[in-house]
Amino acid sequence: MSGSVLYDAPGPRTRRIERIASIGVAILLLAVLAWVFKGMVDRGLFDSRWEVFSDPPKGQSAADVWRSLLVVGLGATLRAAATAAPLAFALAIILAVLRTSRLRLVSGLATAVIELLRGLPVLLMMFFGQLALGLTAFEAVIFGLVLYNAAIVAEIIRAGLAALPKGQVEAGTAVGLTRWQTLRIVQLPQVLRLMLPSLISQFVVLLKDTSLGFIVGYQELLRMMQLNYSFFGDQYRFPLFVVVLSIYLIVNFTLTRVAIIVDRRLAERGQRADKLDPNAVVAVPHNIGRDQSASAP
């Protein structure tokens, strides 16, 4: 980590000490991991139960096991995410635009809706859709994901609008655009490009949240894992868990990579938020770019 805030460039002696300490820590950690792994082997976690993926019991075929996870399960997960994301995005733009309204009533109402939705758990919204509105499991999942993420994305867009230099609006007004036209033609296109990395990160959050669907009985990846071990027996939970976790990680890492690449591209073209107006960025430090922590699910 040369060039860090924290350290001077280390000299040869420090570097040697650091390398030795680093290797020491690594060996210690590997030893702990090996010990845990041995414990798992001793408890039979790597025995024939893994055959559920090659030669499953109870007259099922391995192809069906994989299909239930990858086609049915992951398919349902991606379908829920792909359905909810554009809807949430559309609703978010509406909310964000309404929030900028000059009518106190409208902007106040939009703010209230956003605050309300941001303050409630996704799971509760899913329950609400299912138990109070009588939606199907799929619809209830979409309902919860759309409302919750719309509020978060609306906040991202608001931060983006705030980060744009004032001159943009002034220029728009100067060439005779109305406020709405300025918003639509000048501000929003820039904001969306600016916020693309945040939006992709939020999509990862949304994708992760589809897994809450299992609690309302939506047959996504996690639920298929559950149905599989309900069917085969609970000793198969471990191999199924490992595989399902890997599937989630692969999908989400891929998306995160995409976010990073997009972020870098934008930075190269000088269009990233912090290149635009440093003062404005300070005003919304946690909502920009890399800081998706603010939009944790």
Partner: protein
């Protein structure tokens, strides 16, 4: 009002897989009856379903012996067979049944909103539920019981549960019963009964409670680990849930059940599923309230 197709995409996928994957499903106890829509009173639910040639049935997908779905997507179990029986009386073949997973918490809304035509899902008939839906049946009478480790000596019935940890499923009747009638027991709930088994083995919970028939399935799977103790401490008549006020349909299902009791189809359905680990009981008396 009838079936809404949006949520059934997943089911369609499952059904598509089923078509390609079925093979060793030997037990076809239910041939569709030779009936047509015209055989039923015009405008009745039966006529509508017979006319559509398909029916949507809600059942559990994770209940051993009653409703369980393997990776090939084919539901198996006693509830499933009962569902097929009703469908067959409407002239609907097995392949034309849309199976929808209902979990304990969503059965009433699914019926009320018409997302399913009937629910056959270890569904206890009780008065609170009768306020919002109607029940045909019962087609089986279970009772709540306790599953403990084979080395358990302190628990022999629900009265011994004070200070003990009991595991059950979110939003289920047995969980509610423990909460209300045995408040000294500590209740923990998961999404599925399977999830209670490891904690019981590990000693994280002292007992698992639900209907005796479900517990019997677990004992059959792990006779060295688990045993059932005590008498049944509730009566859980399993009914078929349907939309409130559809009395003709209810009567029709009740007739179907009684006919199946008479001609042995009910017993055959039992023997091919839950009967593998349990004795065949006497069919219960249908309650035409």
């Amino acid at each position: 009002m009838r079936r809404r197709s949006t949520g059934l995409v997943a089911l369609a996928a499952v059904a598509a897989l089923t078509l390609s994957a079925c093979g060793d499903d030997g037990e076809t106890t239910t041939e569709p009856a030779d009936v047509e829509a015209a055989d039923f009173p015009e405008g009745s639910t039966m006529a509508e379903l017979a006319d559509a040639g398909s029916i949507t049935i809600g059942t559990k997908f994770d209940q051993p012996l009653f409703g369980l779905v393997g990776p090939d997507g084919t539901p198996v179990g006693f509830d499933v067979e009962i569902g097929k029986l009703v469908a067959a009386e409407l002239g609907i073949a097995e392949d034309d049944i849309n199976w929808v997973e209902t979990v304990s918490a969503n059965r009433e809304p699914f019926i009320q909103e018409g997302q399913v035509d009937i629910v056959v899902a270890t569904y206890t008939i009780n008065d609170e539920r009768k306020e919002v839906i109607d029940f045909a049946g019962p087609y089986y009478e279970a009772g709540q019981s306790l599953l403990v480790r084979t080395d358990e000596t302190e628990i022999s019935g629900p009265d011994d549960l004070a200070g003990k940890t009991v595991c059950s499923v979110d939003g289920s009747t047995p969980a509610g019963n423990i909460e209300q009638n045995y408040p000294d027991a500590e209740l923990v709930t998961f999404g599925a009964y399977t999830d209670c088994l490891d904690p019981l083995r590990n000693g994280q919970v002292d007992a698992v409670t639900t209907d005796n028939v479900i517990l019997a399935g677990y004992v059959a799977e792990s006779p060295d680990d688990f045993q059932i103790v005590g008498d049944l401490f509730t009566e859980e008549p399993y009914g078929i849930g349907l939309a409130k006020g559809d009395d003709d349909f209810r009567t029709f299902i009740n007739d179907t059940l009684e006919a199946a009791y008479e001609d042995g189809r009910w017993a055959a359905a039992w023997e091919s599923t839950a009967g593998e680990v349990l004795d065949t009981p006497e069919p219960p008396t249908v309650d035409r309230y």
